[in-house]
């Protein structure tokens, strides 16, 4: 966003906050389901504990229309460049949630095949613990990300 010059006065600060409010209220996740966490991500999106309360129930397949990438599952060495390519093709502003232990740190598979933590490939904003994290913990991660965005807007980043 064109960064208004000078300290955040009333006009530009409230614009920042308004834009941040608009962005957090309907972040569309890019469906990057890899392994077991993808099943829990789909369960979060389904009717029982649905994501549409946060305006996020529509999982955009193509990165062009998505502004949040939930890396749900273990990232193998063969998949890392693909993950990086999809991340690069997402439009700004974009955020990344690393869902589950395998995405965040390689989890229980400390071996040749997995990237030990997806932050070696893409910048991650929120790490959701769990293996797989339940729908409630994923939603908690999403709410934390929304707080993060609003806090960043308040501080005029």
């Amino acid at each position: 966003m064109a960064q208004p010059a000078g300290p955040p006065n009333f006009l530009t600060a409230s614009l920042n906050r308004a834009v941040a409010w608009a962005r957090t209220r309907s972040m569309w996740p890019a469906s990057f389901g890899l392994a077991c966490c993808a099943i829990e991500m789909m369960a979060t999106g389904a009717a029982h504990n649905d994501l549409s309360r946060f305006g996020m129930e529509v999982f955009r397949a193509s990165p062009r229309q998505a502004d949040l990438m939930i890396v749900a599952g273990r990232v193998s060495q063969k998949m890392a460049p693909v993950l990086r390519q999809v991340y690069d093709q997402m439009a700004e502003p974009k955020w990344v949630i690393s869902m589950g232990a395998c995405a965040s740190t390689g989890g229980m598979f400390n071996n040749y095949a997995l990237v030990q933590g997806v932050d070696q490939v893409v910048p991650v904003d929120v790490y959701v613990p769990g293996c797989p994290p339940g729908p409630q913990s994923l939603m908690h991660g999403i709410l934390t990300l929304q707080e993060q965005i609003k806090a960043a807007a308040r501080s005029g980043r």
């Binding site: 060495q77 063969k78 390689g106 400390n110 071996n111 040749y112 095949a113 030990q116």
Partner: protein, 155 residues
């Protein structure tokens, strides 16, 4: 004489054994294709599994294990083929069972066993530029050392 004995009898050098209740036929490497064809004609028509094992210090170092299944009287057979470590090559059975294609590519990818006669023997699970064959016993697990202890103190 059960079907397994007829299958074994039709190949010289085949030895039938019993491993915890399951019939196992050890087959010399050269007559693997004839053994699989004989098994299929004897009724083991469904190809179930092909995998490799690395015994590291045993004389034929590698072992290719072919699992077949017959449906009407439900019965399983397991063919074991010893493969020496230096020239790890086995005749491919994709001619007999088309389903062995991916299994042989996986055995090649993770163990480095060459399957002579396979239509396109390339890596299947790892990217092409991967050095080495990870499931061999002399390859380390490849784990990143986890620095719990040496993590820098909060200065």
């Amino acid at each position: 004489m059960t079907r397994v004995e007829t299958v074994a009898a039709s190949m010289e050098g085949a030895v039938v054994a019993d491993s915890l209740g399951q019939t196992v036929v050890r087959v010399p490497r050269e007559s693997l294709v004839t053994a699989v064809t004989a098994a299929r004609d004897a009724g083991f028509t469904m190809f179930i599994d092909l995998c490799a094992v690395d015994y590291l210090t045993r004389d034929p170092r590698f072992e290719v294990v072919v699992g077949l299944l017959s449906l009407d009287p439900p019965e399983r057979i397991r063919l074991l083929v010893g493969v020496p470590g230096d020239d790890a090559s086995v005749p491919s059975i994709t001619g007999v069972f088309a389903g062995a294609d991916f299994y042989e590519r996986e055995a090649f990818d993770l163990f480095g066993i060459d399957f002579a006669g396979h239509p396109d023997l390339t890596r299947i699970l790892l990217p092409d530029d991967w050095q080495g064959h990870p499931l061999r016993k002399d390859t380390p697990v490849g784990s990143v050392p986890v620095q719990f202890k040496e993590a820098n103190r909060a200065t």
